[in-house]
């Protein structure tokens, strides 16, 4: 565990006006850990935009909430969503680490009163064919996927999308970021506030054990040789218990007897008590002897710091406890009054009547040290800026067919069906578009609105330029949503970085946040909450800066536009035009990684104003029904995008003309481009023209074959089923044991 530093201990003494005892020191250690207090990032997170007319609740609560308009019942509806990481536990114990990651974020959603209706996951692993770590990476991937599958499927929330990317920097530090979204009416929103002096504080859900003690501080430290001994710090999840907890909590909320509620996540009982008290400006007094326990002779510190899963803390209206107890009894769950709200602002923890800790709530929850860590250094770069000579003078008559196969079969771009087929992505019968599309879409049955969601991250771009990478990330997520016809409205972010005490890492974090802030402001997608995961390092090796962004968009419920071409003989139009790319900007592409096996340069150049117009164009085209299919150009560039559009069995004959070298023209990843197939090309062009956006006719769909000519030379020519087989089979092949 990471203990309090000398200066932090000094601050504790100043707050308490005495020495902390062991329990108090433990409480401060977890609450002031990086994981709980954001002490290294808070200063910079303030730069993020957090408000809009739709934002009902921004950062600081368990999840952000935005208004989505009226329901059929005439009431106002809203969605709550947030992203959380469970990186460290998933490395130590992949199955339970990932499972409890899902459990934790689901509780964040239903503690606000919302019913979870969608989950997405952003995963990062080391390469499966890594010479030394490949086998371990496979085990971690399989464990993480089955953990997510186990928890989400049993709980009954659809896992509707996500992404999975492989880089050596995640060999010793996989990333598991889970996004969840729930739905409710405005009048069903609850907050984690302990209001009303004298009100009972009630503990509900699973019993408290010794699991997960100091999980929050573990998540705030680098990995060392000893980390595998931290397996006991990983919690064990019980999705059935969580399902009961969900139903019981929502039912109890409907009694009207609950005034505040918060889940016990990181730092368990400690965090839920002091945060609820701090938000309400009240004190909380509890007696640990009353806490349901599944192990004997637990010490007060252990009970306070336990991260046992599937537990909630709620404050009920005095005199109405029995209504709450009755609901939990129906669901077979423990519900016990363990204390009450007081007026003195103190967290007073007793054990059989004896005070074992007494700390002011506000100082504990909100007065954590705030560090302005040095970030004057240039952000750490893993690669040179200049393109290698071998690329600059590359002969252009490469075998592009082989290159396309390499890309489609790469871990990053290949179909992730093997993963998402293990997730129930349809339960609750709302999924209009599930995994494998540009954005996932779930309908809200009670309204005529559907929610589109995109979860994305790009560590490679951010490693080359954190600021530009972050802006591209916002643009990409918003483009994904626009491509299915949705208007982006709000975002949540998970910032995965290395050790912030190193200035070149801290510089990555600061630049990323500033890039996100600029782009989120521009695209009008305020950040309503999120998570920061630092110290993602193993043996001094930091991961690439990996911000993961979840953006939600709103659309009218309708059959969704999907990626595959639907009919032969349709015009294929590239909204946004062919774009351009110089040698330096090519170095971060998937082509550079998978085919040239090198990394250099800068991410693709982004013109945010143009991007925004492109998104307006595609939204209009899609919502007016002019596109039979739509797919944005991203990893692997135009050639990969066109291949993916062909996987419904209809290919295309494409002819592009440009001044670019063929490899660059086919595979560059310049943003602001979307491929549509349409029976109304003039209409598509007119809409584009109205917005000052290029719309280039690049070909015609045809049966069973994909052919791409560049400057009248055929570069790519394939039967669709052949490249599709590569795309579909690659991940499974990579996971298969090398020696049977």
């Amino acid at each position: 565990m990471s203990d309090l530093t000398a200066s932090e201990l000094e601050k504790v003494r100043a707050i308490l006006k005495r020495e902390p005892n062991e329990t108090e020191a433990g409480i401060f250690t977890v609450m002031w850990s990086e994981h709980c207090s954001y002490k290294s990032s808070r200063l910079h997170l303030k730069k993020l935009p957090t408000k809009s007319q739709r934002v009902l609740v921004g950062p600081g609560e368990n999840a952000g909430i935005i208004d989505i308009g009226d329901g059929a019942d005439g009431k106002r509806w809203a969605i709550a969503f947030k992203i959380e990481s469970h990186n460290h536990p998933s490395f130590i114990e992949p199955f339970q680490g990932a499972a409890t990651g899902v459990g934790g974020i689901l509780r964040d959603i239903f503690t606000m009163g919302a019913r979870p209706i969608a989950v997405m996951d952003s995963l990062r692993f080391g390469p499966l064919d890594d010479p030394s770590a490949g086998d371990r990476n496979k085990r971690i991937l399989e464990g993480v996927v089955s953990g997510i599958s186990h928890y989400g499927n049993c709980f009954g929330v659809p896992t509707v999308g996500g992404e999975c990317v492989f880089e050596p920097c995640y060999n010793g530090n996989p990333l598991v970021n889970v996004f969840a979204l729930g739905v409710f009416r405005h009048d069903e929103i609850f907050f984690g506030r302990a209001t009303g002096v004298g009100n009972p504080v009630i503990y509900v859900g699973a019993k408290t054990g010794r699991d997960g003690i100091h999980g929050a501080s573990m998540a705030s430290a680098e990995f060392t040789q000893d980390s595998m001994q931290k397996r006991p710090n990983v919690q064990v999840g019980d999705p059935f218990m969580e399902k009961l907890l969900l139903e019981a909590c929502l039912e109890a909320m409907h009694t009207g007897a609950i005034v505040g509620i918060q889940d016990m996540g990181a730092a368990g009982l400690t965090c839920s008590t002091c945060e609820m008290g701090s938000r309400a400006g009240t004190g909380i007094e509890i007696d640990l002897a009353l806490v349901p326990q599944r192990e004997t002779s637990m010490t007060p510190t252990e009970i306070m710091l336990s991260e046992s899963q599937e537990r909630m803390l709620l404050v009920a209206e005095a005199g109405r406890e029995q209504e709450v107890f009755a609901v939990f009894k129906k669901w077979g769950l423990d519900a016990v009054a363990i204390g009450r709200v007081t007026g003195d602002g103190l967290l007073r923890v007793k054990n059989r009547g004896v005070v074992v800790a007494e700390i002011p709530n506000r100082e504990l929850a909100d007065e954590a040290p705030l560090y302005d860590r040095p970030h004057g250094a240039a952000p750490y770069r893993p690669a040179p800026v200049e393109a290698p000579e071998s690329f600059v003078h590359r002969a252009v008559c490469g075998d592009f067919n082989a290159d396309l196969v390499t890309l489609l079969g790469s871990g990053d771009l290949c179909s992730k069906r093997w993963i998402w087929q293990q997730y129930d992505y349809m339960v609750r019968t709302n999924t209009l578009a599930g995994p494998g599309g540009d954005a996932a879409i779930v309908r809200i049955k009670e309204t005529d609105t559907s929610i589109a969601m995109s979860l994305d991250g790009n560590g490679r771009y951010c490693a080359l330029s954190p600021r530009e990478g972050a802006r591209l990330l916002v643009a990409e997520c918003c483009r994904n949503l626009s491509t299915v016809g949705a208007t982006p409205v709000a975002a949540t972010n998970n910032l995965n970085f290395g050790n912030p005490e190193r200035p070149e890492i801290m510089a990555q974090l600061v630049e990323t946040i500033e890039g996100l802030a600029e782009a989120c402001r521009f695209f009008e997608t305020p950040i309503t909450g999120g998570n920061v995961s630092l110290y993602n390092e193993t043996l001094g090796e930091a991961i690439w800066p990996t911000p993961v962004l979840g953006i939600v968009g709103l659309m009218k419920t309708a059959p969704p536009v999907t990626i595959p071409f639907k009919n032969e003989g349709r015009t294929v139009t590239l909204i946004g035009g062919l774009g351009t790319c110089d040698d330096v900007r090519f170095g971060g592409t998937q082509y550079a990684k998978s085919v040239l096996k090198t990394l250099w340069g800068l991410p693709p150049a982004l013109d945010m104003a143009y991007e925004k117009r492109v998104q307006a164009v595609i939204r209009q085209i899609v919502t007016q029904g002019h596109a039979e299919s739509a797919h944005d150009v991203s990893g692997g560039g135009l050639a990969v995008t066109l291949a993916e559009c062909s996987f419904g069995g209809i290919g295309a004959a494409i002819e592009i003309t440009s001044s670019l070298r063929s490899d660059v023209a086919l595979f560059h990843e310049g943003p602001s481009r979307i491929v549509v197939s349409t029976a109304a090309p003039e209409m598509v062009e007119r809409i584009a023209r109205d917005h000052g956006v290029e719309a280039t006719r690049i070909g015609v769909t045809m049966k069973e074959r994909l052919r791409i000519d560049h400057n009248a030379v055929t570069c790519i020519d394939f039967p669709v089923d052949r490249i599709q087989a590569v795309f579909e089979q690659a991940l499974e092949d990579q996971l298969a044991p090398q020696h049977a």
């Binding site: 089955s146 599958s149 499927n153 049993c154 709980f155 009954g156 019980d238 999705p239 059935f240 218990m241 399902k243 009961l244 669901w331 077979g332 998402w420 087929q421 293990q422 997730y423 129930d424 992505y425 349809m426 339960v427 609750r428 019968t429 999924t431 209009l432 309908r443 049955k445 419920t557 059959p559």
Partner: protein, 235 residues
């Protein structure tokens, strides 16, 4: 018609079944809590998908002891229509209302995807509106859906025309591609695919509606006394 949807702790397709019947088909539907010892005034019962009681033991192994299953058994014995979907099928098998067992999928992984199933008999209250050999696109989502029975049981199922659906592309290793079977009296159907997830064109397929529509047609043709299960059907 009145459908009752049983809710076990851990059921998670209960609302989906309720929605399909009440909103997509416009019938009345109500939830029946697992500790009820009576089903109330319902014409048909649905055991929905999910993880009853967590299913940490064999799927459905705990559910069979619930008070509501005693009532379901009695309802079925009187000829009442019982549709078990996914976990509901597992519960029916564990309860002895249907023969055989549902094992872990062939590749030991949960599988969620649309599958194509073929209607193998129209001589059931659940398929009487379908045509023989008709194919339906309906999703599966399960980890333990591999149907298994001994040779004698399989032979009996075939002989008695009780294999109701077969997979065209078997997702789980079920023997004889079995996706759904009915009871001897034909009033109890268990199926792994989810017809309630294919009851709305917006979700990609409405092929599953035929199961519910068949039940409606069958019930409509019965005298009320038979509907509530006092006279055996197909006696």
């Amino acid at each position: 018609m009145r459908y009752g949807v049983v809710v076990f702790p851990g059921s998670n397709c209960d609302h989906d079944a309720w929605y399909a019947v009440s909103k997509n088909l416009g019938q009345s539907a109500e939830f029946i809590w697992h500790d009820s010892s009576a089903l109330g005034d319902v014409d048909a019962v649905i055991l929905p998908g999910g993880f009853s009681y967590g299913d940490y033991l064999r799927c459905g192994a705990i559910a069979k002891f619930s008070p509501v299953m005693k009532a379901v058994r009695e309802f079925a014995a009187r000829g009442g229509l019982v549709l078990g979907i996914c976990n509901g099928f597992q519960v029916l098998v564990e309860s002895g209302l249907l023969p055989g067992a549902l094992l872990r999928n062939r590749d030991l992984k949960f599988v969620c995807r649309p599958v194509t199933i073929r209607v193998e008999t129209v001589n059931t209250p659940f398929t009487c509106r379908a045509s023989l050999g008709q194919t339906l696109t309906v999703p599966v989502a399960h980890g333990e859906g591999c149907y298994f029975a001994d040779e004698a049981t399989l032979a009996a199922l075939r002989r008695e025309d009780r294999v109701v659906f077969r997979y065209m592309d078997n997702p789980n290793g079920s023997l004889d591609d079995i996706a759904g079977i009915c009871s001897e009296r034909r009033n109890v159907l268990g199926m792994m695919p989810h017809p309630e997830r294919a009851a709305d064109h917006l979700l990609g397929s409405a092929d599953g509606r035929v199961v519910f529509e068949s039940m409606l047609q069958f019930l409509a043709a019965q005298p009320r006394a038979a509907v509530s299960g006092r006279t055996p059907v197909h006696a």
